[in-house]
Amino acid sequence: MPSKAQLLWMYEAMEKARYYEDTMATVYMEGKQPKFDIGAGTVPGEMHLAAGQEPCAAGVCVHLRPEDTVTAPHRPHHVAIAKGVDLNRMTAEIFGKKSGLSGGRGGHMHLFDPAVNFACSGIIAEGTGPAVGAALAAKLKGSDAISVSYIGEGAANQGATHEALNLAGLWKLPVVFVIEDNAWGISVPKSKATAIADTSQRAAGYGMPGHHVADNDTLALFEVAGEAVARARRGEGPSLIEVETYRYYGHFQGDPELYRPKGEVEALKAKDPIERLRKAMLEGGEITAEEADAARDRARQEVDEAYAFARAADYPAPEEALTHVFA
């Protein structure tokens, strides 16, 4: 069971991520109306939002330390937020500004914050190998830092995932693999992508424990992830967790979602995980509505400030494009 502090931390991280994404959904449309042009506006390019997937981020990252490495995929904001990435500079990066994490070179799919050992990437399952490597580095250095590798359920069928799972299992490395099963890989449902229903069953093929978390349950994930993180920290090896989660938005903003059954999102929203966590927290009796509200308000204010920071920031000079190709 999470402590009061852990509960509040998760709740705040989830509210922050949700508000971040909802704000982004609005900001993203600035300059894209009346005609939607993906390259136009305040925030151009592809935009993958994770509203609904907050439990995956908060329920795992609550167990982590800054020195632990997290690799996330193309849908990274909720995880970055839970890992403690600098929100101002992250937002400035997404706005393509000079004060962004990477001075605007990376953008929304390439957020790097070495202060908290966070990275993400745009190629499916590309972060799995680096997570294994960071864990190997920890082992070689005798540190008890661990790695968490996030992928989507669609990414589970990419060769890179298999190789990383086997390496981690073989070398008993401190890695926790988290599969965010939001039921879709763009327009392809899991049933048309994965030969089995529960991907965590593949864990046995790599000599590691597999865990399945049903229905986006933050508290269930908290327990399972706590176990997996502790196991890794003790040097006993990796784990694989699959979490059934919800994707509220389209695959990317602008996705017509013609493939999606009518009413699916509404049904998911009816059991929103943030609401559920809040309810459980308050019912637990230790946390008051005022405390929860304060956490939520803090979260929103931080997000508002980040957007303001990004908006006010300058664009890089064009020639800056030529720098930092090499170290």
Partner: protein
């Protein structure tokens, strides 16, 4: 519909595929989101409805697996069209492409055929950053055994796609996202063209002189044809008469047309959206001077991405991509009219 009907490139591609699928039961399509979604860049729109899930087959995110499967199916008598969603993803599956699809014909001494199309989206300009904006023309063209095409407009796209499907060798069909005529991405007007309704093919290795001119030769392909044409129109105002050549394919490469043009103009500008070094620009220049360095009256100019990953932020991205202004400026330099 009249035969003057205009099609976007994406519709022209889908139409070419549909026409072949109607007449040849061995043609089928595989890839990520090519079914219900119709292809992220629209190249397979409408096919699922007409041909069903068996022949228009959504795949898992397993490019090595399904491109390898395409090779196996092709060797077993089918004519698969597989989509690699973005060319940037080649790194996860290049073995299936360059070592398998491209070499099995040779390895079998011609006893096996691999009639397969690998279609893939190229290009940037819309802030999709360094793993979703590359062109990578030379990455494919450098390696033997595959034909490589990169059309600039709908008419060419339809004819080259039909030719690719009917070809008994693997063809890499590189289409530029920004030419597809999608509702959600800007596209030059000239990319959409009149397209005949019936099936037709265009030969590989025949460049097109898009604009005849006598002062300087601009050699390019794909999106950059439109940028070069914009440059040519601007240069015209200054009395500079540029010839613009659309290569249409990288393999085979129509060196003859380039040589004829340079023999006439004596000045060469090569424009490519791929990286600069070890790329198309060098190949075109070398192809000219290995014939005769005296053909060039002035140093040739190369415009391409300056060996940096494509940056995300708009000012930086626009800076690294060739455009009408930079092309015109380079042309003026080679004509000694800079300044």
């Amino acid at each position: 519909m009249s035969s003057n009907r205009q099609l976007t490139v994406s519709r022209a591609m889908a139409e070419a595929i549909a026409l072949e699928m109607r007449t040849d039961p061995s043609v089928f399509v595989m890839g990520e989101d090519i079914g219900t979604y119709g292809g992220i860049f629209g190249a397979t729109a409408g096919l699922l409805d007409e041909f069903g899930e068996e022949r228009v087959r959504d795949t898992p995110i397993s490019e090595t697996g399904f491109i390898g499967a395409g090779v196996g199916a092709a060797m077993a008598g089918m004519r698969p069209i597989v989509e690699l969603m973005f060319v940037d993803f080649f790194g996860v599956c290049m073995d299936s492409i360059y070592n398998l699809a491209a070499k099995n014909t040779y390895f079998s001494g011609g006893n096996c055929k691999v009639p397969m199309v690998i279609m893939t989206a190229t290009g940037g300009g819309y802030s999709d950053a360094g793993q979703h904006s590359q062109t990578l023309h030379a990455t494919f063209a450098h390696l033997p055994g595959m034909k490589v095409v990169a059309p600039s407009n709908a008419y060419d796209a339809k004819g080259l796609m039909a030719a690719a499907i009917r070809d008994d060798s693997p063809v890499v069909f590189m289409f530029h996202k920004g030419l597809q005529g999608l509702a959600w991405m800007a596209s030059p007007e000239e990319a959409a063209t009149a397209v005949p309704e019936e099936a037709y093919t265009l030969p590989f290795g025949e460049a097109r002189v898009v604009r005849a001119g006598k002062d300087v030769t601009l050699v390019t392909l794909s999106m950059m044809v439109h940028r070069a044409m914009d440059a040519a129109r601007a240069l015209e105002k200054d009395g500079i008469d540029a010839e613009v050549i659309d290569l249409r394919s990288l393999v085979p490469l129509d060196r003859e047309t380039i040589l004829q043009s340079v023999a006439k103009t004596g000045r060469l500008v090569v424009v490519d959206e791929d990286y600069r070094s070890y790329g198309l620009t060098a190949e075109v220049i070398a192809s000219v001077v290995e014939k005769d360095p005296g053909l060039l009256k002035a140093p040739p100019q190369r415009l391409a991405v300056p060996d940096v990953p494509i940056p995300y932020s708009r000012p930086m991205e626009q800076f690294v991509l060739p455009n009408a202004e930079t092309i015109a400026a380079a042309t003026r330099i080679t004509l000694g009219k800079a300044g």
